[in-house]
């Protein structure tokens, strides 16, 4: 059952029926789906949710869909999206000097290894409800991969618009699904501008334009999952990467929903993470500005390189309202963040994840995050997609002849001790 009541303008509050719409026709502000939350609270309980299979569809009553893969065979190929691990990361916690730390690991989301699979699963399900045969998106890579894969899985035609300097893995991971990839000589904001002109002329379901209000709803499932995985006790702090600024607000909204229903307790301070080379939202927060000044992005975190983030105003407002803060980090700190998470916890995240880890470290050093209370880091994408960035910073591995004495000479050169250190006991 669909508990959606329609769309509402986030600025002027104007109501719209459920239809493909990019923004408010009165004031241009973004639209948001709203629901009959009380009816949701009567229809389901946390206990019922826990009995459902682990995927984003566990929370289907909070999504604006008439049907889902759980009840519609047309959508079965999307059944496995979401339900990613919340990993207790004790070694990283010790390195950062905090007591209780978790990684929400969407680097292993299905099918394309980023949190975008959640938003695309909602957008394309809705595209089918609206009768679109062609779907499209503007993207810096992760969204491209996800739209291409899920469109193929659903038998939809896909057009993908990206900046021309995308990472090789993200190009290959789009083309392989047979999507029509069009590279634009320009940055993401320029791609986005063209895409919004295209939206006015072509009758397509463009996931981040006229399907954007629905698409964005998929992000809430990150928040519902975190809450459930923490036994409905919301974390004290949460650090989230910001590109367009949508995800951070949707996680906050998910926590709000659960508090309003009386299912979850606790206030969460929300912290936003950006790369210094593209930091329009963190700059606004740090300088106490309400409005977002656009920037020309220059960072290795290309999946966060939106210089003119449409939800930036709301992201900054969410951060302020929850008592959080925002930070940004250099390209070197991003690579350190990626290595730190990989070396301590075996989680290989893309550059955006390096941004999150490095910003968390910076915010802890500044004393803005309470190290004694539970903290969640939101990791949104997989390191295999941004190999170019990490390869450039890695030393060459040694090559030796297949002889024991060369191996042992190498150990001496490396200053390594052959004994393996015993594993320290893991603190909960």
């Amino acid at each position: 059952m669909n508990f959606e009541l329609g769309l509402r303008c986030r600025d002027c509050g104007k109501h719209f029926k459920s239809e493909p719409l990019a923004g408010c026709d009165e004031c241009f502000a973004p639209l948001e789906v709203y629901y009959d939350l009380q009816a949701i609270g009567k229809a389901i309980t946390p206990e019922l949710l826990e009995r459902r299979p682990s995927s984003m569809w566990r929370y289907r009553e909070f999504l604006p869909l008439n049907s889902t893969p759980l009840d519609n065979p047309r959508l079965t190929s999307l059944a496995g999206v979401g339900g990613t691990p919340l990993v207790p990361v004790a070694r990283l916690a010790r390195k950062l000097g905090v007591r209780e730390l978790y990684v929400k690991n969407d680097a292993v989301n299905f099918p394309t290894l980023s949190f975008k699979d959640r938003v695309v699963a909602v957008a394309l399900s809705k595209a089918i409800e609206f009768g679109f045969k062609v779907v499209a998106c503007s993207s810096t890579g992760n969204l491209a991969n996800s739209v291409a894969a899920q469109a193929a899985a659903l038998g939809l035609e896909a057009y993908i618009f990206t900046p021309s300097d995308l990472e090789a893995a993200k190009i290959a991971g789009t083309l392989v699904y047979g999507a029509k990839l069009i590279k634009i000589s320009g940055n993401y904001d320029q791609v986005n501008r063209l895409c919004s002109e295209i939206a006015q002329r072509y009758p397509w379901g463009i996931v981040n334009v006229n399907l954007r209000p629905y698409y964005a709803e998929g992000s809430k499932t990150v928040g519902y999952e975190i809450a459930q995985q923490l036994d409905w006790k919301l974390p004290s702090s949460l650090v989230c990467p910001m590109a367009g600024g949508s995800l951070i607000g949707k996680i906050a909204r998910a926590f709000d929903d659960l508090r309003q229903l009386g299912w979850a307790a606790g206030d969460t301070r929300i912290f936003g993470a950006q790369a210094t080379g593209c930091s329009p939202i963190s700059s606004a927060v740090k300088e106490g500005r309400k409005d977002i000044e656009p920037q020309r992005p220059s960072t290795i975190a290309r999946s966060l390189a939106i210089g003119n983030p449409a939800d930036g105003f709301y992201a900054a407002r969410t951060i302020r309202a929850t008592g959080g803060w925002a930070e940004d980090v250099s390209d070197n700190e991003i690579l350190e963040g990626m290595r730190l998470l990989a070396e301590t916890e075996g989680i290989f995240t893309e550059t955006a994840g390096g941004v999150t880890v490095a910003c968390a470290r910076k915010l802890l050093q500044q004393g803005r995050i309470d190290p004694q209370q539970p903290i969640v880091l939101v990791i949104t994408g997989n390191g295999l997609k941004t190999l170019d960035a990490i390869i450039a910073s890695q030393a060459e591995a040694p090559i030796i002849a297949p002889r024991m004495r060369e191996f042992e000479a190498e150990l001496v050169r490396e200053g390594a001790t052959p004994e393996v250190e015993p594993e320290p006991a893991l603190a909960k």
Partner: protein
């Protein structure tokens, strides 16, 4: 001096269906005033109560965001291609 301002689809109902309008205003605030006086219904769609441009739309001149060209200080030139678009994003 004249240039073309392209009007996005959702606003064309306020410009009598025109998808572009020839304008002569010198700068952004004068342009908003010119559009508001020619199409009174357009005014509150594009301006806040204090006359400032609304937060959620962007103005591009020859494909460049006007804020990178000096914003309110930019002087329009003969033949400029001016585009008004709702700000959209999302999608990394």
């Amino acid at each position: 001096m004249a240039y073309t301002v392209r009007i996005p689809t959702p606003l064309q109902k306020y410009t009598g269906g025109a998808d572009s309008v020839a304008c002569q205003a010198e700068n952004l605030s004068a342009l908003l005033a010119e559009l508001s006086s020619r199409f009174p219904e357009l005014k509150e769609r594009i301006c806040e109560a204090d006359g400032q441009p609304r937060r959620f739309f962007n103005v591009y001149v020859n494909e460049e965001d006007i804020r990178f060209l000096g914003g309110s200080t930019y002087q329009f030139k003969e033949g400029d291609d001016v585009l008004i678009l709702p700000s959209i994003a999302g999608g990394c």
